[in-house]
């Protein structure tokens, strides 16, 4: 909420074009949740044994090649997990959306909030259902991919 307000203030003063545009909302969400994805990606990178890169180098593959053929594929599950994690966070982030959402647009969260606060529970229900479904999907993807090395077969 604080970041959103600060961004809204800054944009309205310095970059009037950005104010009331979806770009600002995306920027705000990125600022909020990039740290979480960095943590997730760092975690997977730390899981990769240094001996793997050493072995790749000993096989005549340069630093870049070792990254492309070993480090990157091995960190793919972590990247995917980070993406899903951020997706779930953004989905549930009501405050930022309420402050920065351009007029005429709505998110699942703002619409649910608007309807349920006017006791229009029947109208709010579909949004809630979609929210729950998407969160469950995110959780499922996370659990099935994270923390397990998938066999990708020979490249």
């Amino acid at each position: 909420m604080a970041i959103a307000s600060a961004l809204a203030y800054a944009a309205s003063h310095y970059t009037p074009g950005l104010y009331d545009s979806i770009v600002l909302l995306v920027l705000a969400e990125a600022m909020l949740f990039v740290p979480f994805s960095v943590v997730a990606v760092c975690f997977t990178l730390n899981q990769i044994e240094p001996a793997l890169e050493d072995s790749a180098r000993s096989l005549g593959v340069g630093r870049l090649g070792a990254f492309a053929r070993v480090t990157a594929p091995l960190s793919r599950p972590g990247m995917a997990a980070a993406g899903v994690l951020v997706f779930a966070f953004v989905l549930g982030d009501l405050g930022t959306a309420q402050v920065l959402l351009p007029p005429g647009l709505y998110t699942l969260g703002t619409e649910f909030q608007a309807n349920s606060s006017t006791v229009a529970f029947a109208a709010a229900a579909p949004f809630a259902a979609v929210l729950v479904a998407l969160s469950m999907l995110a959780a499922f993807v996370l659990m099935s991919r994270f923390g397990r090395v998938r066999a990708l077969g020979s490249a």
Binding site: E49, A51, L52, D54, S55, A56, R57, S58, L59, G60, V61, G62, R63, G65, R69, V70, P73, L74, V149, R150, A151, L152, G153, S154, A155
Partner: protein
Amino acid sequence: MAELRCEGIAKSYRGRAVLTDVDLDVPAGTLTAILGASGSGKTTLLRVIMGFVEADAGRVTVGGDMVADAGRVHLASDKRAIGYVAQEGALFPHLSAGGNVGFGLARSQRKRGARIGEALELVGLDESYAARPAHELSGGEQRRVALARALAPRPRIVLLDEPFSGLDAALRSETREAVLHAVREEGTTALLVTHDQAEALSMGREVAVLREGRLAQQATPGILYRAPADADIARFVGEANLLAGQADSGGVDCALGRLTVVGPEPDGPVEVLIRPEQIRMSPTLDADATDGQAVTATVLDYVYYGPDTVVTLSVDEPARTIVKARTSDQRAPAPGEAVELAVAGPVVVFPAQAADPRLEPLGQIGRPLAGDLQIQAT
């Protein structure tokens, strides 16, 4: 001719010297073992040769080509054509066994797959293994695939860092044979790093003992075992009885009588090295019949290993001298039994000095040897 030569290698971390003036020659087409306790600097030496770390001083040449000269030349690891088998194998978990083996090959060669099958066969695995995901292989198979991967691009040298650690005894000797076979078949020069003296003695054409970052001795296994450079190395490479003695020209007097000496013969107080298998036990005859000439002892204890038994003995005169004897006789003497001792073959002596605890003694008196230990005298 030396395929790999290290000259004057020195490396220290935060002021602590890990390697000091190490000179190492690895003869072409043979396997040389580096034997050292943990913390002796053997892994650092390997990493210097690989180019993963830069030495503070010294040069490394491979097949006559300078690959590292501290401060001047540092060829990147991927340009050195040195194969590397990391501890536990370090297979790429996202690839199949075949993908691993082909990793270092040119794209066209990888596509054809002929060399992949060849390399797998070299380590005793058939071609069907190529499709197996790396993380589904057993520990022994992983080590083999790691070796095949290192050998596939035909490196000038292959370095093996504790390649059998974590394998159980039976699998270890099987994998050991597979490695020896593969390296010999390819004619590749190999350098094996290990802390296991039996592994070093049985696999290396030559063994280099690394102690506190210094090369203590480089010799054939037979010389290293029978004529180590000092008492410390003697203890480190196998079980050793080290007795105080008095040497003069032609022999040495110690608790086990007068013995002939081989090698350097210093005069005065010495330490006498007698390997447990040099001590022969026989039932004591009548005390009168020996005329007090024979050395008699009482059995304290014994440990049965299967092929042989190690017997702990207390020498009667001088008292409180404890020695160990190794016998392949299945009917080892029981505790309390009196036996007569004789020493087979000449012994090696070292000028007497205070015991040096620098090496972690692997086979010292009072400690059983590693399970699958089998000392080969070559």
